[in-house]
């Protein structure tokens, strides 16, 4: 018995010691990143989730655990419903519009021979400019009486439109600004994707009978742009879901909540109404939507994307 134990014991001890040593070293090396990950991402997210189950108000001395009450209130809150549908409308309009236009412009610039860098820079300008500052410019452009947009429309006999002040026009106006804001980003990404397509493929396609430009686009460009398109859709979707600064700078959700969007409602509830618990619940919903969107996009699109 003693011998039987004695023999494997040192080997096992040595093994575990080495394993432990390696494990410890591994953990030690990973510790800074792990701690940072927890402190900066997981910890706050957990705190957020925890807060969303409470009725805490900023400055209130106590808080109580109210379970799912905040979420129950969300389902009946008309403002939240407007904000959610406005945000989805915004995403639904701005993504296809900016991707369709962006791809078209990228193809035109790429197909042209001169001034490529100039055009790329021009279209990218809105992305690098500060949106809040640009919002002021938009406010002037879209001003109902002294704005150039209405003056131009007036020349062709269209009556002045109250772009940001009327509840019918405020969302279309914000979507328009959203497309303008995202277009340059999309153009630059698509142009990068286009340059990565090998020229020979076009020649080969032409040999195989793809005579028209449309055929070549359908058979070569579009499939090979798959990975780029996936990336662009994901990034644009998240950028659109996060719409906040134009709303805060231009309309503050008005008139009569007509331009309320998810993040603005969250901000209002948390930092104007001080209802941190309720605001946390909205943020959880927002994070949930982003997460679902990411999963759907990577799962479904991944399968169809052609990684040439």
């Amino acid at each position: 018995m003693p011998e039987a134990l004695a023999l494997p014991a040192p080997r096992r001890a040595a093994g575990t010691a080495r394993g432990l040593g390696e494990g410890a070293a591994g953990w030690l090396l990973a510790a800074p990143a792990t701690i940072a990950l927890f402190l900066l991402l997981l910890g706050p997210s957990a705190a957020l989730l925890g807060l969303s189950f409470t009725d805490w108000e900023l400055g209130a001395p106590e808080l109580a655990w109210i379970g799912l009450e905040n979420y129950a209130e969300l389902t009946t809150d008309p403002v939240f419903r407007i904000a959610l549908s406005n945000t989805l409308l915004y995403v639904g309009v701005v993504i296809p519009a900016s991707i369709g236009l962006g791809l078209g412009i990228a193809l035109l610039i790429e197909g042209g021979t001169r001034l490529r860098a100039t055009f790329r820079a021009i279209y990218f300008l809105p992305v690098v400019s500060l949106l809040v500052a640009m919002a002021t410019a938009w406010q002037y452009l879209l001003h109902p009486t002294i704005g150039p947009v209405n003056k131009l429309l007036g020349m062709i006999g269209i009556a002045p439109i109250n772009w940001l002040g009327s509840s019918d026009w405020v969302m279309p106006s914000l979507c328009l600004i959203g497309v303008w804001e995202n277009l340059g980003f999309v153009v630059v990404l698509f142009m990068a994707g286009l340059t990565a397509i090998p020229r020979e493929l076009y020649a080969a396609a032409e040999l195989d009978g793809a005579r028209s430009a449309l055929d070549r686009f359908r058979l070569v460009t579009w499939p090979l742009l798959g990975p780029t398109t996936l990336f662009v859709v994901t990034i644009t979707a998240i950028r659109c879901l996060r719409v906040f600064d134009t709303v805060q700078a231009l309309t503050r959700g008005g008139p009569n909540n007509a331009s309320e969007v998810l993040l603005h409602t969250m901000y209002q509830e948390g930092f104007t109404y001080f209802r941190i618990g309720y605001s946390a619940a909205i943020t959880v919903v927002f994070l949930g939507i982003v997460l679902v969107l990411m999963l759907v996009q990577t799962r479904i699109l991944d399968r169809r994307v052609h990684y040439g």
Binding site: G59, Q139, P144, T145, I146, N162, G254, P255, Y273, F274
Partner: protein, 426 residues
């Protein structure tokens, strides 16, 4: 105890790293007062001057300002956060209708004992009316520092073109609305008027108080604005739209049109005077008048502005803090404030005495209407409970329906009353 630690942990987590330097910042030397104020665009220069003169007049005392908050909302949020996480300033300037929220959170030091020691406060320029600006129920939460009330701005060029007399501007709503309609009829991209109804309930309360109405019943358990006075106010807004042809502009769009000389009448706070003078087109002849009187006897107007609040719990610092507050709200401090901003002084000596602002008001007629309206100015009503801002939004949103002609005044007022009732504390 468990509540305390949980609360502290939560506060620290939320206020985050921002709070830490403030905790340190608040512990200056005993003679260095830490003071916080909002809206640096209006008040920065004024505050620097007040601190300078205060230090010169009080050897051994000095003032250090923390980073100013951009708005009243931000200012009250900051103080509420600090109330939880620590690091409150000694003195903070807070919006008059935010005082109630601070008192409900038991943050301000009651100033009544300090006032009692001052003796005859009316002789020092603080009349009961002015002290009332800083009172919440029985608590003297702060001392009024800057006050404003609603006035009417006119573009005299457009008034003239519309057949009006700039030296004889309307004093009642009927003639104002008629004039507005005539300005709109000028065409050429000119808009008639804007009544600054969006943003908060302040301008609505101007009409409501003007009719002699109140927001809530005396016991604050039910709404009172849905009576005859409230209905008359909503109908007046409806008439501004239908007869005065008031377009549904955002406040920014309206101000831009007014600055550009393309709007005849703008009605809003007197605090705009400074920015109006800076931004308005050079060829525009700007005039101001008092708000048209609605009920000559019962009519009142709301007051905006801010008050100095003492927040430090350290009794040893109270004396120094009080000295600073009385300097800032005293004649000299108020003179500096008015000259620098256009707000109305909260001290009668500052306003009347020629050593302070007496001659200023004679030479600057634009500032006079707000000053002359002070006798009928009363506190901007702050709703009870925690839903104050939400109630304000409900009121504004229902006014928006009338301005967009999507609802009749009667329907909008009914929805407004029901919406606000749900938000009052039960």
């Amino acid at each position: 105890m468990t509540i305390l630690t949980r609360r502290a942990a939560l506060g620290a987590a939320l206020a985050g790293t921002l709070a830490a330097p403030r905790i340190l910042a608040a512990q200056g030397s005993p003679t260095e007062l830490v003071v916080h104020y909002p809206m640096p665009a209006f008040f920065k220069d004024v505050m620097e001057k007040i601190a300078e003169e205060f230090a010169a007049a009080n050897p051994g005392l000095s003032v250090r300002y923390t980073a100013p908050s951009p708005s009243y909302e931000d200012a009250v949020q900051q103080v509420l956060r600090q109330g939880v996480a620590g690091g409150l300033p000694d003195v903070s300037f807070q919006g008059l209708n935010r005082l109630r929220m601070l008192v409900e959170r038991r943050l301000p030091v009651d100033l009544r004992p300090f006032l009692e020691r001052e003796g005859d406060v009316a002789a020092k320029g603080w009349t009961p009316n002015l002290l009332g600006l800083g009172q919440v129920r029985e608590v003297q939460a702060g001392m009024g520092f800057a006050s404003s009330n609603p006035i009417v701005y006119y573009n005299a060029n457009l008034v003239r073109r519309a057949g009006g007399d700039p030296d004889n501007l309307p004093t009642d709503w009927n003639s104002l609305i008629a004039l507005a309609g005539r300005v709109q009829a000028l065409g050429d991209g000119n808009s008639s008027m804007h009544f600054r109804w969006a943003g908060d309930d302040w301008m609505f309360s101007a009409l409501l108080y003007g009719h002699g109405g109140t927001m809530l019943a005396a016991d604050e358990r039910d709404v009172a604005f849905n009576g005859a006075e409230g209905l008359a106010s909503m109908r007046l807004i409806d008439r501004m739209v239908k007869e005065g042809r008031m377009p549904a502009f955002t406040v920014d769009a309206a101000l831009q049109a007014f600055y550009a000389g393309k709007m005849g009448i703008f009605s809003g706070t007197t605090a705009y005077i400074g920015s109006m003078q800076r931004s308005i087109g050079r060829d525009v002849d700007l005039r101001t008048t008092k708000m048209p009187v609605i009920d000559a006897e019962k009519g009142r107007l709301p007051t905006g502005g801010n008050a100095a609040v003492i927040l430090t719990r350290d009794a040893a610092r109270h004396e120094a803090a009080w000295k600073f507050v009385t300097f800032a709200t005293g004649p000299r401090g108020q003179e500096l404030m008015t000259r620098g901003t256009g707000y109305v002084p909260c001290n009668t000596i500052a306003a009347r005495d020629d050593r302070f602002l007496g001659s200023f008001y004679r030479e600057n007629p634009l500032f006079r209407p707000a000053m002359e309206q002070m006798p009928i100015a009363q506190a901007w009503y702050a709703f009870p409970g925690t839903n104050g801002v939400r109630i304000t939004e409900t009121i504004v949103n229902n006014i928006a329906r009338v301005v967009e002609s999507n609802a009749t005044p009667e329907a909008a007022l009914g929805d407004m009353a029901n919406g606000v009732r749900r938000l009052l504390p039960r």
